[in-house]
Symmetry: C2
Subunit: 204 residues, 2 copies
């Protein structure tokens, strides 16, 4: 590609470093930035600079935060004896959006995946073990992906922590609410039958 300007080329190159954004898309985005008011692009640049400089991770649960301890961990109305173990902050946001969970979280920062070179050492497992030991935790809910990596991670955590007095649970796998049975995959269907629950429970 022949770029008419180095400044322009650099912006396109940097944008195309982002995942899922190729050269063509980057070009389109940068041209859009040139056509809109300069203050908007300044805001974007400024927000990214702040992101790098000011973002913090909660010392307890490792979620993204503006302070040492996040809003959830520092909220006295949350039940700090129940920890929901998730992979990343998107999972926290998804569960928080339901508005139904009153416990706290622990963000592992990924899942065990030998294929991607992620071992237990790269995840926040040690600090989870410390929380289980030092805080009065009654239940750990594994809310990891329903994949081989997610299951491996849950199993690893269980093995590491099983000697503690904490109760372990995992989020239910089954047919999604509103889904039709005939379109469900076999594995999900099998699990939904194996893990069937008393009818009265479901009605609550």
């Amino acid at each position: 590609m022949n770029y008419p300007s180095k400044v322009f080329e650099r912006a396109v190159e940097e944008m195309s470093q982002l995942p899922g954004i190729g050269k063509r898309t980057a070009l389109r985005l940068v041209l859009h930035m040139l056509n809109r008011s300069a203050s908007k692009t300044e805001n974007l640049a400024d927000s990214l600079q702040h992101l790098v400089n000011d973002i913090q991770y909660c010392e307890k649960c490792h979620t993204i935060s503006d302070a040492h301890i996040c809003n959830i961990c520092s909220n006295p109305l949350r039940d700090s004896s129940i920890i929901c173990v998730v992979e990343d902050v998107r999972d926290v946001m998804a569960i928080e959006n339901t508005g139904q969970y009153r416990g706290v979280y622990h963000v592992l920062g990924g899942r065990i995946s030998p294929m991607e070179g992620v071992g237990p050492g790269q995840l926040k497992i040690e600090s989870l073990a410390q929380r289980v030991q030092n805080e009065s935790i009654s239940e750990l809910i594994f809310a990891l992906s329903s994949t081989m990596e997610g299951d491996t991670t849950s199993f690893y955590l269980y093995k590491v922590l099983k000697d503690s007095s904490v109760q372990f649970s995992t989020i239910a796998r089954g047919i999604g609410v509103g889904d039709e049975l005939e379109y469900a995959d076999e594995a999900t269907l099998v699990r939904s039958i194996q893990n069937r629950i008393p009818y009265a429970t479901e009605m609550n």
Copy 2:
């Protein structure tokens, strides 16, 4: 959406202002930025700041440039008597990539489109008329989109400039090189037959 951090939320909001990037994609991109080395995101922020502060437009042809006059207009090896009229800088880049055109350009900055509220006044038509009047231009090549708006723009330019001594041409419309006839649309096929050229010319 409940964001765990204001700094994080602002970055996601600003990213999702870009065309074709929704909240979910913005979230994914910002999380990626947090997982990669901070210097990369600083580079991106810096490149966008430079884009806003340092980008210039060539005073002659209005393409994006690092100086008052762009590399193409200031190149003595280019034939400044032939001007190729295009819509935006992407068209300049596409033609430059062929390495076959030795003339110069004029970037209109769009095309006449009443539907999108773009009239002749918003385009760099006045300055094109001045170039035709003041410089020794022999030929204007219209290289605009083959759409109603592109054709309207070409026709408008022709009407404005037809009293000058300049020669007008338009890029050829026809079956693309490597395309099969049976898949060509009717309008293109009709035009390719109407504008047929002597066989010997094509062989050159």
